[in-house]
Every structure is written in structure tokens, then in C-alpha cells.
Symmetry: C2
Subunit: 212 residues, 2 copies
């Protein structure tokens, strides 16, 4: 088979949005969609969608559009979502608790299989049926369960040492909620959830509206 | 004054990360930094930093680097952070409560001034010293206080109607935690916090590692 060019990361980041939008279409019992219609739903141009998908093969037919279910299945397979992914969570402050209780993970192929915390008062309690485990036991659990995705929900001052321990224990991809840029090896994926930075990227535009 | 070219949005999104990194440098009492050093901290090339900053004027000197405090002040001014921004929050489920309690907003020029909810059992209670207010009163509060930033932390099924009401009442920028793409007018800024999509963009790479 001819090997296609590797897609840039920005394309990979858009695929989950395509998948989500296609899922909504299926819920609405819409079984066929043009790149134009799909684009309008996610604020991406039709040309961008066609270009993004072209990295992964041939989809849709000129004038007919995409078969929603087929395209969704294909994108889910590309994203590795034909399997379920175990995830561990470190930190159960207010944010960690909200993450642990969020039912959107489970329905989307992501299972939280371990919750770790240093606070002895919280260890042993349960959140969403999962027992909070002593952080000291985390390396062993990661090795025993072969989990490779980790979520960091600890304060910024502790995030780097948590990341180090996650990576040492075998975690290969980290979602970090702490407002810090982690120093990590090149073969580990790190993404950030950073509401303050996102809000600041909008205050830029709002501040401009006030200018003469 | 010569008018500089408008910076692309991707540059605006990086500015808050530059600002944060500069703040950390100041905390460490580092007062001068090269684009190389700054870049290493945020995983951006030195050339990218120089190019990004060039949209806003002349900073730093060849061989001397940037004055950390001056550059920080300048970026904060660019982002509109020489003023404090009122923000309202809609929804106080687990996530909304974690957002309301997050102390990272206040220290970064963002003040939550109103929390709104439809659940009559929660209305009147306080989170982080702010009283939860009846959602029906939201339009009046937005108009009276001239707040223009809103955070949506309601379930996906309610997010669009909340966004519509926010925008009708005068909100100009929305941070949406619901897993949905909002339909909004062109003159309203919308950004998303979407941990599932972000995790899915990493399962793509992890799934590839297993391939023969």
C-alpha cells in the first residue's frame, strides 16, 4: 500500500472535533453530510476538511458527500478509539474531583482506572466508584496495568515532579491542568488545559474594541 | 505611527504562555532572557518567539536578550491585562464549582463577578464568597455590570441556549466547557476547553506506537 504523508499535529487535533460532530449528526439521524455542511458545524472550511481527511485516504464522493457512520468509524479507528483507553488521574482537589466525576470520558473510550493523591485524609475514599489510592503506590499501578495516559490535576508547584514520576513509571501521554509548561522527554506527548491562557487570548480582542 | 500588520490568532494564543513564562522567570529573580532560553521553557523555537513579538514592535537587543519585566509588562498590556476583567460563570455542577473555586483566575486579572444556575436548591448558596444567582436574572446582571466575558459550564444539551442568552445580553467572549460547537455571531469570540478531544488527539499517537 502506498504510504501517505504523515499528517501535521494540527490536523490530528481537529479529528476529534470531526468525530464529535459526526456523532451529533448520527444522533439526529442524519446519515449523509457534505464537507460544506460539516464545516459549518465546526467552523472549518469545506476545503480544510477535505484536505485534512486526504491524509488518511479517500472519503466521500463529489456531489454525494460523506457517509456519516462510515466516516465516523474511520476517524475513530484513526484516533485509536476502536479500543478503550485506561487513564490515571493525579490530584483530587476541586478540579480533580470534577474530572473524576465527569461522565464524558467513559462514553468516549477513556476509562479512569486509578486516582492518586498524597493527602492521607482522602486516600481510601471513593469518587465515582474509584478508590483514591496513595500516590506512593502509583508507579507500581502504572507498571502493573500498562496504562499510558495520565491526567495531572495538582498545583503548579508539584506538577513537574508528578510528571517525572508518571513518565518514569511508563506514562507516555499527559494531560496537564496545572498552569506550567512541563519539561518532558521528546517521546512523551503533553497537552495542556489552561483556561486562564485561553481567556487571556480573548481579552486581547476585547481590549482592542475599546480603542479609539 | 506606522501601523503594524495584524497578528494571526495563533500568535495571540501564544502570548499568554510567554507572559506566564516571564512571570516564572521574575519569580526566580531572572531579569534578562534570550529568545533561545525563553523558547526552551515553552517548547517554541527562538525564531518563532522573535517573529511573534515582531508584530508588536521592537523588543530585546541582539546578544543582550529581553528585559524580563519590561517584556512581561508589554505583553500584559497587549493582552489587555493592565486592567482587571469581570467574568461570569454559568453552571455550578462539579466542574462549575471547581472553576468558581480556582484561585488562578483572580491572580491573573480575571474576577468572577457572577455565578448563575437554574437549580433552585443551589441559588442563594455561596461559592468562594460569591452568591449563586438565579439564571433568570443573568441578562439584567450582564447589562448592569457591563461584563463581557462568560464561562459556560452547563451540560452540552443546554450550552447553545445559554450561549444565545449570554450573547443577547451583551457577552462578547465565551469560554465553553461543554463538548459542543456553539453557533455564534462572527463578532463574538468563543474558545473551548475540551479534555476529551485533547486526550483523543494523543490516543492517535499512542495507537500508532502499537503498530507493526
Amino acid at each position: 500500500m502506498e504510504r501517505l504523508e504523515d499528517p501535521p499535529d494540527v490536523v490530528i487535533r481537529r479529528l476529534p472535533l470531526y468525530a464529535r460532530s459526526l456523532r451529533y449528526l448520527l444522533d439526529e439521524e442524519i446519515h449523509s453530510v457534505s464537507s460544506q455542511e460539516l464545516g459549518e458545524r465546526i467552523n472549518v472550511t469545506a476545503a480544510q476538511i477535505r484536505k485534512d481527511l486526504s491524509y488518511f485516504g479517500e472519503f466521500g464522493k463529489q456531489g454525494i458527500g460523506y457517509d456519516v457512520e462510515k466516516l465516523l468509524n474511520h476517524i475513530e479507528r484513526i484516533l485509536g478509539l476502536d479500543q478503550s483507553w485506561p487513564v490515571i488521574l493525579v490530584g483530587v482537589g476541586h478540579l480533580g474531583q470534577a474530572i473524576a466525576r465527569y461522565d464524558g470520558f467513559h462514553s468516549q473510550g477513556l476509562r479512569i482506572v486509578g486516582i492518586f493523591e498524597t493527602d492521607q485524609h482522602k486516600i481510601g475514599q471513593k469518587i465515582a466508584h474509584i478508590e483514591i489510592t496513595d500516590y506512593a503506590l502509583m508507579p507500581k499501578v502504572i507498571r502493573d496495568t500498562d496504562v499510558r495516559l495520565g491526567i495531572i490535576a495538582v498545583p503548579a508547584a508539584e506538577a513537574q515532579s508528578v510528571a517525572d514520576m508518571l513518565i518514569d513509571s511508563g506514562i507516555r501521554a499527559i494531560l496537564c491542568y496545572a498552569p506550567i509548561i512541563l519539561q518532558t522527554p521528546d517521546d512523551v506527548w503533553v497537552r495542556y488545559i489552561d483556561p486562564v491562557a485561553v481567556l487571556h487570548s480573548m481579552t486581547y480582542y476585547l481590549a482592542r474594541e475599546n480603542m479609539p
